[in-house]
């Protein structure tokens, strides 16, 4: 028997060495296969994006073969399912803008105040209790919020705004606003927490109160992070579907008055999808054109937020 390292008790035949080598090759192959399949899983996220953009562009392209883009952007009527259909997206955009504006009007002040309170005022124990409860707000299914807006908030508002119709953008907007508070507050809080302690201490050393420090020092320093929180809040409000579909009515209505009912882009998509829609019809294409408009709105706002952040970014 041929051995190496004789006398050390570390004996290997040639066969064993060869076997080890093959094992090593198999192992390497296995490692590579696993790594590659994991890489494919990571790549799937890009596939999703491409899928979204591809489908929206492709189906909208079919739609815009029948409807001119100029009409789409300038016409003031959206009557796709009527006898003489007209395809002006403006009423739907107006509905989306009004509900989102109401939502932001509720969510930004409240969310920012909560962020300041949680990061500067509340002690650890209070924060540990309050934060998870607050985050439950974003866990509630949106259809439940829709029920709440239609059957609780609207009657409540009607008790001091007697002329408020049953379907209105005001109550939908308020409920969406409350729904997105956690998105605004937790991101803003993270941003404020990330401001270095010496900046905070510098302000305190000058005799500033917590409130003055928060508003005049921390808020500007953390503005780039807070702006991201606002942009995320806006994206959520614009894309919110069930609350507006239930509580804001489904009638396209070119108005900027939140006391009226109006369909939003998302509510229109839901309304059309509920009916039996022939694949390839113009109405079928219209929901993709509406979806594309929605994506463009969020994209524009995100770019705006990016520019704003770049302008106000503080580097320590």
């Amino acid at each position: 028997m041929e051995t190496n390292h004789a006398g050390t008790g570390f004996l290997r035949t040639q066969d064993q060495v060869r076997l080890l080598a093959t094992n090593k090759t198999i192992q390497k192959l296995r490692e590579r296969t696993i790594e590659f399949s994991m890489f494919l899983c990571a790549l799937s996220s890009i596939a999703i994006t491409l899928g979204i953009v591809g489908v929206l562009l492709f189906e909208s392209w079919n739609f815009f073969k029948h409807v001119s883009i100029v009409d789409f952007l300038t016409d003031t009527q959206w009557t796709v399912l009527f006898e003489n259909p007209r395809y002006g997206i403006m009423p739907l955009v107006a509905g989306t803008v009004v509900t989102s504006a109401v939502a932001l009007f509720v969510a930004l002040p409240l969310g920012t105040t909560i962020a300041i309170y949680l990061s500067e005022y509340a002690n650890n124990r209070v924060r540990e209790i309050l934060k998870p409860i607050l985050e439950l707000l974003s866990a509630v299914p949106t259809v439940v919020f829709g029920y709440f807006a239609l059957l609780f908030v609207t009657p409540l508002l009607q008790s001091f705004l007697p002329n408020l119709p049953g379907f209105n953008m005001l109550s939908a907007g308020i409920v969406i606003g409350i729904m997105i508070i956690p998105y605004v507050s937790s991101l803003s809080e993270d941003a404020m927490k990330a401001v270095p302690v010496h900046i905070r201490e510098g302000s305190y050393a000058m005799g500033a109160t917590r409130f003055q420090t928060a508003v005049r020092v921390l808020f500007p320093s953390a503005f780039s992070g807070i702006a991201s929180a606002y942009v995320l809040g806006f994206s959520r409000a614009v894309g919110e579907t069930m609350v507006v579909a239930i509580a804001a009515g489904q009638q396209p209505n070119l108005t900027l008055n939140p006391m009226e009912g109006a369909a939003t882009i998302t509510a229109y998509i839901v309304q059309v999808s509920l009916g039996d829609l022939p694949h390839g019809s113009i109405a079928y294409g219209s929901i993709f054109a509406a979806g594309l408009t929605l994506m463009c709105m969020t994209l524009l706002f995100n770019i705006g937020g990016y520019l704003l952040r770049k302008r106000f970014r503080e580097i320590y």
């Binding site: 994991m38 299914p141 709440f148």
Partner: protein, 302 residues
């Protein structure tokens, strides 16, 4: 001198006032949550009898139930979990442990962050064009499950990455020092240590998926279904059937939407009851997730 003292006193008063305003603002969210649950409970409690869970929807509100809805929700969630969880964990682990630092990785990271901001209804449109018509999966449980899987994939990926990142490098080095390969290290050491965080993220992601309504309406969920999907377990060989994947479906939130959009008050009571069931499910899942997060954070001391 007096002037300055007055000013300081005023500022301090305002500081105290703001502490109260802050607490009140935080309370707004909680009051709304409480009002929501109370409202659902008072309206829906009367409907929550056993037959509510064992009957199909009906024209008569008193007889209507959520059988097809909750069964549909279970089947759709099964598809979602089986797709999104392995894919999300694999993608998260890859990005954290394997990915080289190059433009592709940077692109993947930016992309995942942006996907989280895409409105859910847009996923529904994508699924309608791609799954339902291009891939011809039809308006089925399979399409629905895959749609929700794509929707929660970014959440699972981000949660996986965060908890994998929290495992100290010394753990990996110890494994490498003993001759473990990269995959052995990941499988036997990194993943078990980060399982708590991953599990928390997965539960939260699934609770998000349970409540999603809009994307499923877009791909053509039906609102009135009076039959159940084919059973996945059969009495005769081969005992397992996948027919249910192709079945038309409804889910709990869609059933609730259907009831809430009817004008009759009687149906609104059904909607409240369905909403109560939904709330109990999602809040329970979130409670479990919070508990997990708390427990794992306490137990592991590096």
């Amino acid at each position: 001198m007096n002037d300055i003292q007055n000013k300081i006193a005023r500022n301090k008063r305002f500081d105290g006032l703001f502490a109260i305003i802050g607490l009140l603002s935080t309370m707004v969210g909680m009051i709304v949550l409480a009002a929501l649950i109370l409202d659902l409970a008072t309206a829906g409690a009367s409907r929550l009898a056993p037959h509510f869970f064992t009957s199909f929807p009906s024209r008569f509100p008193e007889q209507a139930g959520i059988l097809s809805a909750w069964v549909g929700t279970c089947f759709v969630m099964l598809v979602t979990a089986l797709t999104a969880v392995p894919m999300g964990i694999a993608a998260g682990v890859y990005l954290e442990e394997y990915a080289p630092k190059n433009w592709l990785t940077a692109l993947l990271e930016i992309n995942i962050a942006n996907l989280a901001g895409v409105p859910s209804i847009v996923y529904g449109l994508m699924a309608l064009g791609l799954f339902v018509y291009q891939l011809k999966l039809g308006q089925s449980i399979l399409s629905a499950g895959l749609t929700l899987a794509l929707l929660i994939l970014p959440i699972v990926i981000v949660a996986t990455r965060e908890s994998v990142r929290a495992v100290p490098g010394s753990m990996r080095e110890a494994a490498y020092a003993l001759g473990a390969t990269k995959w052995q290290t990941t499988r036997d050491h990194v993943l078990p240590y980060s399982m708590g965080g991953i599990l928390t993220g997965v539960i939260i992601a699934l609770s998000r998926a349970i409540g999603e309504t809009a994307p499923l309406i877009t791909i053509g969920a039906l609102t009135f279904i009076a039959f159940l999907p084919d059973s996945p377990v059969k009495a005769e060989f081969p005992f397992i059937s996948f027919e249910w994947l192709w079945s038309p479906f409804t889910v709990l939130p869609i059933q609730m939407f259907n009831w809430v959009s009817r004008p009759q008050h009687e149906f609104h009571l059904n909607a409240a009851a369905a909403g109560l069931v939904l709330m109990v499910m999602t809040l329970a899942m979130n409670g479990i997730a919070i508990y997990f997060r708390y427990r794992f954070r306490k137990r592991i001391k590096w």
